[in-house]
Amino acid sequence: MKTLALFVVILAGAMLIYAGQDLPAFGDINSPAYQHRMTQYFIENSLSESGVPNIVTALLANYRGYDTLGETTVIFTAGMAVILLLRRREK
């Protein structure tokens, strides 16, 4: 069983290494993700559009506001699940 698990893990790792050869090098400024116009747009316009110097905050609370709202739903659901699981039961 442990040998099978090790085999599966090494297979998954080898597949990821193989796929990772096509990814851009570490810190490459010409990587497609950085040169994409959305990234450049957010870096240039987030201050004038949302008034927050921190781009991550501007993205999280302004452009992706509905995503953050859904995130709070996730936390709420998890909290309710923990309460329902751990509350004292009356027998």
Partner: protein
């Protein structure tokens, strides 16, 4: 040979995250202890976070907080500064919250399992479950299938 080493060095972040992912994945599959499984899942998640953050890294880049964006001179934002990609940071901020939520639910489930069976070892729990419900065991299920 140096060509191979150059390739490994240029993408060493991927090697680190793959190694971390393998450690976490192995712990999730092979360990019998439920807490160790959860720790493995957390290591796995951390590997994915590191992968995303390393994708956003730019050589010589600074944190994505606009230099000169504060105060009265907000209009004079420096344009020649290189910032790292902020999009992976935002995505991972969301993913960290989800990871914390799933870990909380998983740990609560483990507490309930321990209260019910008195153990967090998977094989002990399965043995106790077979004792409580004989129809749950593999052998009885196969046999019952033949009878019907």
């Amino acid at each position: 040979m140096s060509g191979v080493l150059d390739i490994v060095y240029a993408e060493y972040n991927y090697w680190i995250y793959v190694t971390l992912m393998m450690i976490g994945f192995y712990a999730m599959i092979a360990k019998k202890n439920l807490i160790k499984k959860i720790i493995g899942a957390n290591i796995f998640q951390t590997a994915i976070f590191l992968f995303y953050i390393s994708l956003g890294e730019v050589e010589g880049g600074t944190a994505p907080i606009l230099v000169g964006g504060h105060g009265e001179h907000a209009a004079e934002v420096a344009h020649e500064v290189i910032y790292v990609n902020p999009l992976p940071h935002v995505l991972i901020l969301t993913a960290i919250v989800v990871a914390v939520s799933t870990t909380a639910v998983a740990l609560a489930l483990v507490i309930r399992i321990y209260q019910e069976y008195g153990s967090i070892e998977e094989d002990v729990i399965l043995a106790a479950r077979r004792k409580l419900q004989p129809e749950f065991s593999e052998h009885a299920r196969l046999k019952g299938g033949e009878d019907e």
